[in-house]
Symmetry: C2
Subunit: 552 residues, 2 copies
């Protein structure tokens, strides 16, 4: 049985951050096991920091404990906090602003594709779930069930209990996904070929009861978008399913700088109710794969279950064809893991809510100096804002510049500008890159200042994507035999494993049981020249090239 839903305030964090004893222990471990820094400058900064940072705020080194590092980074960058509800996260303003930015970017692309936003009820009648045979198996087992519509005082204890007089005749399910309610509505809305294609998208919260949760990566409640489309022909539905996967790929790679492999799922790994599931798979720095977005060709399964027919031009009555597709706040987890380091979050400039943080340095009794610094700051801010650069000035009082640097570094802001009286005197600013801590002095009288910023930001974006792509390339192994795969795993050398494969569902399950790797996808660009190839596991003729990995 599952644990109680309440009272696990730190379900996400392995050790409570307020546990002082643990904190000190972690600090000690971290200090002694700390990997040698490549750059002295960075090292010095860190040492300096350590003396001013309370122990509770430590970020575990990724090399020491990747899983704890991830939790530390998202906590210390102030993206997220644990909630008192099991497996549900609180997305804090910094995390939310990143999601909102991603949402805006993706929403534009979805709208361009012809889908329109709509909103469907949160609660779904239990019976709806059963209408599509495979769908119910996939989702009935992990959902929140609403059984009453009122609380009342317990005459015995005086506390609250669900009011027995307010039991629902049919329980309602908090949506784990909205195919069923949306296809119920499609039945009312779709009548003719002129109504097709019909494309809607919804930005919403969904809930799937999960045993083991981890903020962004796997939480019971999460935010996502779900697109649902109906088409006159199979071809049009297939085309749309693939088009949406292409859009996901472009946004995830272009905005989050997370490289992905495009492909389609094996029968075992398909969405419950889909005939084909297209997927993008990313590889995290610990060698684990992360499914980052899926697009499903649903055939006529939902149309049949909900009776969605249309009249063709020739006045024939036909079932429509369907797709659905979604990405979620999980993408933030992919971005965090792909780019961040032991100093905290690293944000690709294209997603950063703040691309440039400006820290003015003034002294209390130096009015003249302050005035010149303010003029400098105004100048830079005006230039940046006029050129579409997201700049923010951190002019908080009673906080030292060092503490500000530290905070914005942890929050992953790509560029930092220091501006003090000496900079004002020379009409220059010092710009520091979050990625490599390199400093560059720029003249603010330079007419190309904004352009220089754009270049620097664009270089960081390119660098992050290239670095991540190189990693994926390095960690993608071709395996000829099952022993090849196993020996990699034995050496803890995880990654993407490409193998010729006979597409046998039972053998796939056996591999999963044996070594906890699964087929992430059949990569779309690898399904060629299979003649004469044999499956790496069974020795039977190969039908696919499969990408195996251990997965989140």
């Amino acid at each position: 049985m599952f644990a109680a839903a309440v009272g696990c305030a730190r379900a996400f964090t392995r050790s409570g951050s307020r546990n002082a004893a643990l904190r000190v222990a972690r600090l000690t471990t971290s200090a002694t096991n700390k990997p040698v820094q490549q750059k002295n400058k960075v090292k010095q900064q860190k040492v300096k920091r350590r003396s001013t940072t309370p122990a509770s705020d430590r970020i575990t080194s990724a090399s020491e404990d990747f899983s704890q590092w991830y939790l530390d980074v998202i906590r210390e960058s102030d993206m997220v906090d644990a909630s008192p509800i099991k497996g549900c996260m609180v997305i804090k303003p910094w995390g939310m602003s990143i999601w909102d930015k991603l949402r805006a970017t993706l929403d534009d692309r979805i709208t361009e594709s012809g889908a329109e936003n709509a909103y469907f009820p949160l609660l779904i009648p239990q019976s709806f779930l059963s209408k599509e045979a495979e769908h119910v198996d996939g989702f009935a087992k992990e959902c929140a069930v609403v059984t009453h519509h009122r609380l009342t005082e317990d005459p015995d204890s005086g506390g609250l209990i669900p009011d027995p007089a307010a039991a629902l005749e049919e329980p309602l399910i908090v949506r784990p996904t909205s195919e069923t309610i949306i296809w119920h509505m499609f039945q009312k809305w779709i009548a003719s070929h002129r109504d097709l294609p019909f494309k809607v998208n919804q930005w919403a919260n969904v809930l799937r009861w999960e045993m083991r949760t981890r903020p962004f990566l796997r939480s019971s409640e999460f935010l996502w978008q779900e697109g649902h489309t109906a088409h006159a022909t199979e071809e049009d539905a297939l085309r749309t399913a693939k088009e949406m996967l292409d859009i996901y790929t472009e946004v995830v790679e272009g905005t989050l700088a997370v490289p992905v492999v495009k492909g389609y799922k094996s029968a075992n790994e398909r969405f419950a109710g889909a005939e084909e599931t297209y997927t993008i798979e990313a590889l995290m720095p610990n060698g684990w794969a992360l499914q980052s977005g899926t697009s499903h060709f649903l055939g006529q399964n939902f149309a049949e279950a909900f009776g969605v027919y249309y009249q063709t031009k020739e006045a024939k009555r036909e079932l429509v064809w369907a797709t659905s597709w979604g990405v979620s706040t999980r993408l933030l987890g992919a971005m965090v893991m792909t780019h961040s380091d032991d100093a905290g979050l690293v944000l690709p400039p294209n997603i950063a809510p703040v691309q440039v943080i400006l820290v003015p340095m003034t002294r209390k009794n130096d009015e003249e100096g302050t005035a010149t610094v303010n003029a400098l700051v105004n100048n830079v801010v005006t230039t940046c804002m006029a050129n579409g650069i997201r700049i923010k000035v951190d002019d908080r009082e009673n906080m030292r510049p060092g503490a500000k640097y530290f905070e914005w570094e942890r929050k992953g802001v790509p560029l930092r500008i220091d501006a003090g009286p000496r900079d004002a005197a020379t009409q220059s600013i010092v710009v520091t890159s979050r990625v490599d801590n390199e400093k560059r002095t720029l003249s603010i009288t330079d007419k190309h200042l904004a352009e220089t910023f754009h270049h620097m930001l664009s270089d960081i974006q390119t660098h992050l994507f290239a670095k991540a792509s190189n990693y994926v390339h390095e960690k993608t192994y071709k395996v000829d035999t099952y022993n090849d795969l196993k020996s990699r795993l034995d050496q803890d050398d995880l990654g993407f494993f490409l193998a010729y494969w006979c597409a046998d569902d039972e053998l796939e399950k056996r591999i999963k049981e044996d070594c906890s790797v699964t087929i992430r996808c059949y990569p779309s660009d690898k399904q060629t020249e299979l003649e004469g190839k044999v499956c790496f596991y069974s020795g039977q003729p190969a039908t696919h090239v499969a990408l195996f990995a251990r997965a989140f």
Copy 2:
């Protein structure tokens, strides 16, 4: 007991729109009782329309049945549809695009006020609700209760049932509002005066089980934003509560063109847990008031319930002060009722997702004519888009211009442009206003074309607000005695009733029981010169000027 949650597919519509007999009946009634149109042009257009419009698509006249008119308008403008879940609506793309526009506008203002967006869990532990004594009374009685986290097959029936082995130890509530979970988090986040003020905002769905529902105006699930702030001083909290009400006023009046009265609630009508509830109240064309936004000063109630203390500059430990404030999709209902007419929705230009709809008119075999029309269309679209005017071209094939006009009129788009070969020949376009059907011919070679559009749109916005304001002015009555009030009600002459009032909670309840009017607010600008005034009901010395009305 409430009805079953499922199976009331037309909970929102009084008569199913697919009921053919009713449809015909309504058409007949409508045709005979139709009020005389002021403009012949409009009348002719309507007659023409009637012959091509299927009976199911009729909009009941507002003068005939206001309530049915409202339901017809939101259905026929394609803003909303009924869902199979009792009291929960489906917001269709047209309705959603209007909400998204409002959300974007308001979000900018909220962000400017210093609040940052965040996201808190949908599900709230039942025990949280009990922590603030008044809050629990207000919300425990109408919420969706999650008691299980899994469905399983019923061994008897073979259908699904909540899995008895998956009962939650403590039930969870689908948030009716998020004070409790947010204040639980504030306790973790707020420690020092340096953390204050602390301001978060959430865009979310909430659920309150409602008996009688009506889309947008009162639905079980609705979309809203809820802001929650914590402050070091009472003054700062009060200032923020009022500031947010001012922001709501500006957005509702400036964007939706809905005039409101600002004030504060009587003790009876306050939010459960608030010490003061500020409100904006609008008056709908049927004379009923609609509460359109509230901002609460929560005192230290939630801080005390959740133990949220901060350390002052002087190192003292003090409870923080709180506000919360929200507006919801209900505002769309206010906008619809305020401006729409018997031809459908009327959108104020500032909220219209499409401000100008362009309908090109071309003939199939007229290639030359089509080319000149296309050139004209491109010209106009380019000009509009370059000048921030939201224009859309309706180039759907197989649909007559008349049908398009009809559809966009129902959807309330402020301006329509017709562009055919003859217009192209004279380089002119005909622009028709949704509000009065007036037509204006514009030359597209005019350099001030965009400016003219802006003026026309701005005039419509001003006109709609002025018209609505005049109406409120006309229907605001000063009543000196209870008999004055009653005789207005007897004549069905509803509106806002201003009266001197002794602020007696019991008498207020008595009035509500007697004639179903309530105190909507104590208008902020009216609480002066009360000396010597006596209560219109009790004859006791007056302490307030109260605004009474019948309310949605």
